[in-house]
């Protein structure tokens, strides 16, 4: 059974079909790419998969459990985490706190413990800040753990977003243009990080990307979208050489 199954997913905004009839099957531990020109509806797909938008048609399942139309919160708890195209960090909180927010739903101590600093508070805070530190170390952010997130350089902000998403212990990670705004060096480093994340956390990753080098470098399979419909899908090199795809990218 595939990890994520998407069937006939579609959404309309005011009569306009933003995404139509999308089908996807992503296997466990796979690195899957969702690519396409600007305005092809890639981020809209992410928004549907994370419950920000409710799809008008179609359904999707995670490990066989249908999640169509659930709220963002529920979907996250079921195991889908994401990053954003325009970075959305908690800018006035420290790097460590950003990750701790991601860990929040695993923490158990109640309001009374918060207010009265009962023993549970100390135990959990200690355990989870250790886990946060471990996660940060993976992304090479440990030294900045007490920096305000908004003060991080751009590349590190992207990494922090991934770390925060991972902190929610997802099964499926959605990365929205992780390499946007990065120079080639940073992109190469990012590729390594993504691969490493997949190995270390046994993660399934679906990513949106413009940078073809990155896509070709790490994605096993891709789906190409144009004007909300699927142009091609399959193994990366094959799909990218599909005539329809070439036409869409290069024009006639």
């Amino acid at each position: 059974m595939s990890m994520l199954k998407v069937e006939n997913l579609g959404i309309t905004f005011g009569g306009l079909h933003a995404v139509e009839n999308l089908n996807l099957e992503i296997e466990k531990n796979e690195l899957y790419g969702l690519i396409g020109p600007n305005g092809a509806g890639k981020t809209t797909v992410f928004n549907m998969l994370t419950g920000v938008y409710k799809p008008t048609t179609g359904k999707f399942w995670l490990d066989g459990e249908e999640l169509t139309g659930r709220s963002s919160i529920e979907i996250n708890r079921k195991g889908i985490a994401r990053t954003f195209q325009n970075i959305r960090l908690f800018g006035n909180m420290t790097v460590a706190e950003n990750v701790l927010v991601g860990l929040n739903n695993q923490m158990r101590y109640g309001l009374a413990s918060s207010f009265l600093r009962l023993p549970g508070f100390f135990k959990e805070e200690r355990d989870y800040s250790k886990r946060a530190d471990e996660l940060l170390a993976v992304f090479d952010l440990y030294d900045e753990r007490d920096t305000l997130a908004s003060n991080l350089p751009y590349g590190k902000q992207r990494k922090l977003e991934i770390a925060r998403a991972l902190a929610t212990s997802p099964r499926l990670l959605l990365l929205d243009e992780p390499a946007a705004g990065m120079n080639p060096n940073e992109t190469a480093e990012l590729m390594n990080t993504i691969r490493f994340v997949r190995e270390k956390f046994d993660m399934t990753i679906l990513l949106i990307e413009h940078d073809m080098r990155l896509v070709m470098g790490i994605c096993e399979r891709v789906t190409v979208l144009n004007f909300g419909t699927e142009l091609a899908s399959g193994e990366t090199s094959k799909a990218l050489n599909d005539p329809a795809v070439v036409k869409a990218y290069l024009g006639d």
């Binding site: 981020t43 928004n47 920000v52 954003f84």
Partner: protein, 295 residues
């Protein structure tokens, strides 16, 4: 029956003033996407300017009216330049707090200059009233009616058929995109404030003619209710402001006229209760558009 009709007329008259003030709120909110808390206080300053002009005696009434509109427009322009413009792009919380600060500033400046006593103005328009059947209808009410309607139509035309109006629409949809399309966003917002404040000036003239009094809090008290009316009708919508204003006027008049006396103590809270209810049930108001946040 007679009383019901009289009360309805009272309500519509009051409502038309609310509508006029609400138009100003709604227009600025619709385009600049900010709640100009100080709109009511600009009106208050306008009324004081009429008060000062009237006390100088020698000025002809039309000049007084022009001065009032000019004072308001300049004030609106200045406030926008000095207080709101530096905050473009700041979180809405900051902008809102600044607007409250400006409102408070104008009130307290007025308090310093004119003291807290209510000042009464001479009946400078001398319009009198006309007799319709057994009802006496002040002519000023008809003038307010007419003005509100005319302003509403002119604003609609302005926005639909002039390049400035289209620029305003573009800015209201998406500031960044408008900028990219070559619209001067800052200038457009400034113009919006000038027009909005000139509207406040017109409202000031009509308020002064109808009620003949002003104190430093006139603007904020009346302004908050008018704002409630604008929200009720759907802020950002010009016909919404009209409908909201008239509804609020009618509801207030009917409450005063027909609510049992034991409940009269809450009549002042009616506008507020209505506003709370409306926003809870239909957050975008009667004719408002729903805002979708982009992800």
């Amino acid at each position: 029956m007679q009383m019901l009709i009289s009360t309805l007329i009272d309500g519509l008259n009051l409502g038309s003033v609310y509508a006029l003030v609400a138009l100003g709120y709604s227009m600025v909110y619709g385009i600049a996407k900010m709640l100009n808390f100080a709109h009511g206080d600009v009106i208050m300053v306008g009324i004081y300017s009429i008060f000062v002009c009237l006390n100088m005696n020698s000025l002809p009434v039309p000049v007084t009216m022009l001065i009032c509109v000019a004072v308001c427009a300049v004030l609106g322009f200045t406030v926008e330049k000095l207080a709101y413009k530096p905050l473009r792009g700041s979180p809405s919380l900051s902008v809102l707090i600044t607007a409250i600060g400006v409102s408070y500033l104008l009130q307290n400046l007025a308090l310093l200059f004119f003291k807290s006593e209510r000042r009464f103005l001479q009946n400078f328009l001398q319009l009198g009233s006309i007799q319709i059947g057994s009802f006496e209808l002040p002519v000023i009410s008809l003038v307010i009616w007419g003005t509100t309607l005319v302003i509403m139509i002119v604003l609609n035309l302005l926005i639909k058929y002039t390049s400035m109006g289209r620029a305003m629409l573009a800015v209201s949809e998406d500031k960044g995109a408008a900028q990219l399309m070559g619209v001067n966003v800052n200038r457009t917002i400034s113009i919006t404030f000038v027009i909005g404040s000139a509207l406040a000036g017109v409202a000031a003239i009509l308020y002064a003619a109808k009620y003949q009094n002003v104190d430093p809090y006139t603007g904020s008290v009346f302004g908050i209710k008018a704002f409630a009316a604008a929200v009720f009708g759907g802020i950002g919508s010009i016909p919404g402001a009209m409908i909201g204003g008239l509804s609020l006027g009618l509801i207030e008049a009917l409450t005063i006229g027909f609510l049992p006396e034991s409940l009269s103590a809450v009549s002042d809270g009616i506008a507020y209760a209505l506003l709370v209810l409306m926003l809870i049930l239909k957050p975008s108001g009667l004719l408002g558009k729903k805002k979708v946040e982009k992800v």
